[in-house]
């Protein structure tokens, strides 16, 4: 599906890296959910797991934010297709659980934007899926 995006190059990067990942790392659930359209879909493609609609996405992030004491996303490399409302980023995710164990993942996200929010998000992970 091709969507109409209202964001320019800087706006796409602001949404994906700062509004989204910045608030995931702060565990600001409402700010994270505000990045998504109501009927958005997030798919962890490497695990064939899909969460459809803000209700399911909220539940996924509640579990994810509860499972980890520390969440860090960093070292982003962005690829931005402004004319088609798409942005991709590869990054490192560092997760510390409540026992002090760290997990490091090298992931890639694809975002498709409708208006000024995410309509579809696809995640490709280097390791086991923590977004269950």
């Amino acid at each position: 599906m091709q969507y109409q995006s209202s964001l320019d190059r800087a706006g796409l990067e602001q949404l994906a890296i700062h509004n989204y990942f910045g608030n995931v790392d702060k565990k600001d659930l409402e700010a994270v959910l505000n990045c998504f359209c109501d009927n958005a879909m997030i798919t962890v493609q490497t695990a064939f797991t899909t969460h459809a609609g803000k209700g399911e996405i909220r539940r996924m992030f509640e579990d994810f934010m509860g499972a980890y004491k520390t969440i860090i996303h960093k070292d982003f490399t962005c690829t931005i297709d402004e004319s088609n409302g798409r942005i991709t980023a590869c990054f490192t995710a560092e997760l510390e659980d409540h026992e002090g164990n760290w997990t490091t993942l090298n992931n890639t996200n694809f975002w498709r934007i409708r208006g000024d929010k995410f309509q579809e998000v696809y995640i490709y992970m280097s390791g086991e899926n923590p977004l269950v």
């Binding site: 493609q45 064939f48 690829t79 931005i80 297709d81 694809f110």
Partner: protein, 131 residues
């Protein structure tokens, strides 16, 4: 060299690289890469170095092991400013020693210099085929 246009990125990925892979055309595939390119399968952290060394060997193994390879259903994020294209796609393969078809939902990140692949990163949804 002046920067190549948007459509060049889509064309090298679909009409040259994956067309070459699907048709077992080694020369067409390797011509997309710089001599010192690397291809990394991220989900298993397997790194293939050099167009005529590790990358050629990897494709020889892929072509020898499969009688049918198909890539399609592409969605691209192409970025002229950063000389990169990231592509999502489906893959169907039929191994030589079986009639059953395997299907994957994969993505690749291609980073180019002067119109050829410098670094390629592959994420696979299932078992790594690019050994």
């Amino acid at each position: 060299m002046t920067s190549v246009p948007y459509e060049y990125y889509v064309d090298i990925v679909t009409k040259r690289y994956f067309h070459g892979v699907d048709n077992h055309d080694m020369d067409l595939v390797l011509d997309c890469f710089h001599d010192d390119a690397t291809l990394t399968e991220v989900t298993s952290m397997t790194i293939h170095e050099g167009r005529n060394a590790g990358i050629r060997t990897m494709f020889e193994g892929l072509f020898d092991a499969h009688k049918r390879i198909w890539h399609g259903n592409f969605v691209h994020t192409a970025d002229v400013a950063s000389e990169a294209i990231c592509s999502q796609f489906s893959v169907e393969v039929t191994p030589n020693d079986a009639d059953s078809e395997l299907r994957y939902e994969n993505c690749n990140r291609f980073y180019l210099k002067e119109g050829k692949f410098s670094r390629v990163f592959v994420y696979m949804s299932g078992e790594n085929l690019l050994k």
